[in-house]
């Protein structure tokens, strides 16, 4: 029986989300009934669930069939934790139980992230594509329950939220209450037409990003640049600088393209999940960058990591100076984000680097304020702040981000420590 199921799963071709034209053709064709019904003000809940389930299953078929079992086990695990804590929170509220619930919720993710670091690069059997993003969703629910803002949850909506097909593999990260409201209400026809219009535009833009630009940067430019950089070797060379820019643009267009697909498909289902990118390379400073880059992730960290750390530090009066408090919180926040990417020296130093950059950014803003105050008292005009200083900020931020992405890419690890010629 089990053997038969495994064989069957292995025999089905594996379709990665938004991976190839065929995927879009089938997905869009199967979405037509949903779109038509939505147009006439109805949500086909059962049909939508079946279609979603089908596309989730083919993500994990073929050679990666064991991920499907990991996914099922994981969802059962999270369901138990979330609903148990929900039941508990109705009448009680203690920190240890809350912390325990959060710990249990992130435990599978910890296993999955730590296993490759201590087991010679092997992947944990608990892992499956999208585990991080599912964890973000359930942990956010636990925290909102603790805060008392999330009171009622339904099993069916919970499962739909956790296993929301358009975003299951890589986000954007939605919030339960927002999702539930969209899911239980059908947009008006005028609203839905707006969503359709955006959906078409995002799909086309996504194609351009992912299949034209990311292909150009990631395949045509990046592959030969990497080969050349490795052939030249050493600590640093010009081709590695090329790798830096090519990788940075590849990362953006690939992920932004994917995110556009996810948003577009979600809009077709009448669910307005948040956008993930907002022209990040136009950011004039690093704090602004994190408001524009992988937005749903950085906001998640802001709400559920940074704010919590600040809260704990302030409540326990750890530091007298609130600037020190926020600096420590920023660095911890970004370090945790680094660890989340993976337990490797380059992800962790990437996180640390961004944490430090935000601290420096804040320090400069305070310093500027002080200088301007002094200048005002001395009767001088404030420091210049015009389109040229903004342009300078954009250039500096962009270069910093690209350098940090080179670190993030892991290419330096290969160049410095694993360059076998």
């Amino acid at each position: 029986m089990m053997q038969g199921l495994i064989q069957w799963l292995q025999s089905i071709p594996n379709w990665q989300p938004y991976g190839e034209p065929k995927y879009f053709a089938w997905l869009l064709a199967l979405l037509i009934p949903i779109v038509v019904a939505m147009f006439f003000g109805r949500r086909l809940k059962i049909y939508q669930s079946l279609v979603s389930l089908g596309f989730i299953v083919v993500m994990y078929t073929g050679a990666s069939y064991h991920q499907l079992f990991a996914l099922v086990a994981y969802v059962i695990w999270q369901t138990i934790i979330v609903f148990a804590y929900h039941a508990y929170r109705k009448n009680h509220d203690t920190f240890p139980v809350f912390a325990g619930a959060v710990f249990l919720a992130i435990l599978p993710l910890i296993f999955v992230k730590v296993t490759p670091a201590i087991d010679d690069g092997n992947n944990s059997l608990l892992g499956f594509l999208g585990i991080s993003y599912l964890t973000f969703r359930s942990v956010a629910m636990l925290m909102e329950m603790r805060d008392g803002v999330l009171k009622d949850i339904k099993l069916s909506t919970f499962l739909r939220f956790m296993l929301y097909m358009p975003t299951i593999s890589s986000g954007p990260i939605d919030r339960y209450r927002r999702f539930e409201e969209d899911y239980d209400n059908v947009p008006t026809r005028a609203e839905y037409l707006d969503l359709l219009e955006k959906s078409v535009w995002y799909l086309m833009l996504g194609f351009f990003y992912k299949y034209v630009l990311a292909y150009f940067f990631g395949t045509i430019l990046l592959v030969p640049l990497k080969a050349h950089a490795l052939a030249v070797g050493g600590w640093m060379n010009w081709s590695t600088v090329g790798v830096m820019y090519a990788y940075g643009f590849d990362l953006f267009f690939d992920f932004a393209g994917y995110s556009l697909f996810a948003v577009a498909i979600s809009y077709l289902m009448g669910i307005k999940i948040p956008m993930n990118f907002n022209q990040p390379f136009k950011s004039p400073n690093i704090k602004d960058f994190w408001n524009r880059w992988h937005i749903s992730l950085s906001f998640w960290f802001r709400d559920f990591v940074f704010m919590r750390i600040v809260f704990v530090l302030v409540k326990n009066k750890v530091f007298k100076n609130r600037n020190v408090t926020s600096s420590v919180a920023y660095i911890l926040n970004m370090l945790i984000m680094g660890f989340w990417h993976g337990v490797t020296w380059y992800y962790i130093s990437y996180g640390l680097l961004h944490g430090l950059a935000i601290v420096v950014n804040d320090a400069w803003l305070r310093k500027k304020k002080k200088i301007n105050k002094e200048r005002r008292l001395a009767g001088n005009p404030p420091l210049p702040s015009n389109k040229w200083t903004t342009a300078l900020g954009i250039v500096v931020t962009f270069q910093f981000v690209m350098i940090s992405f080179l670190l993030f890419s892991g290419f330096l690890d290969q160049l410095w420590f694993h360059n076998i010629k």
Binding site: R189, L193, L196, E197, V200, M204
Partner: protein, 424 residues
Amino acid sequence: MLKRLALIFGPVVVAAILVLTVMFVGPIDKHKHNLANEEQAAVSLSPTVFRQAYLKNMALSDEDHRFVPFFGSSEWNRMDAFHPAVLARAYHRNYQPFLLGQKGAEALTQYFGMQQIMQNMHHKQAVFFVSPQWFTKADQQSAAFQFYFSKSQALAFLKNQTDTFADRYAAKRLLATYPNVPYRNLVQKVADGQKLSNLDEKYLDFQGQVHANEDAFFSRFDIGTNLKKRVLPKVKELPQPYNAQALDAKAVQLGESQTRNNRFGILDNFFTNRIGSSFPSLKNAQAHFNYTQSAEYSDFQLDLDQLAKTHTNVIFVIPPVNSKWAKYTGLNENMYQASVRKIKHQLTSQGFNNILDLSRRGNEPYFMEDTIHLGWRGWLAFDKGVAPFLEHKQPAPVYHLNNHFISEDWNNFDPINNDVNTFK
């Protein structure tokens, strides 16, 4: 409301129609010959031209201009003034080479490439540059193979195959070198000796049609600039009219002026850029190289099988290595000659008798451009053997294939300690 819907979906519908038109109708001029594109493609050496079928077939089927397939690998990229493409142009030969070969391409890649142009090879001629360096003990580099492999080749192979011994072996090799090959299930069927169903055939026809149209549409965008930048300027350098002695003098003069920074007769910038600082570590680095036993021998037999199937009259060229360089790197000359004997036995015992064996001429000055590739006088020697074969009518060959050349016996046959003629 309808207007809004039309504004949202109208452009999508128009785009979809355009895409479907490309897929099912193809470009309007897809059956036309375009000499400029053919000539450019023939020397472009771009991966697109090498992988895809459209431009190859356009050129090879041109009745007004005779293009001859030159199968090989990296040597075609050594475009000095005496390169076959330059000579053919400069002296208005009645043929032009269509260069099919890239760095890392070996017999298996050539086999699937031949599938694409099968209909244009029947009873025609071809040149096959077979390098002993292909016949390494380690198996065919699958990265290079996968890079040059295309859906179009898979489709052509699946359509052409008739469940012969060679077909089955080719399918097995394809699966082994490219486990996720397109149409894997169908290739597996061929490997297992199963017949493709009618539905399979219909599916292949459908895929083939769509793919051919896409190929016709996209091929023209990546033909490169070799003709203009690397061939035509060199045509002007050559003495007119054709004079063997003047050409040889020119080859010596150019070779002499470009090999001044090393004692191996290697092109200066190759020595600086490609050998450079690794020079000391290369001493005796090739002493263990062995080309005498390799799975490549069976792959090569697939090529011969295909050439025989199309009754192609083909001349094989076997190059030498740069003798001075071989001495430095410790490459064993006996081993090299044994691999040449093995290749030649495989050829002549099956009726492939046109062989230009240059393998012993690696010590002639300005014969080799670098370590293993022909240049200057080497290309002239190539031309001296190949041009008459192509320019004048040749008797039709009679091939008698021996399937035993597709076997572990033959792959592992040791030509150093055994007489190759004993292998039947």
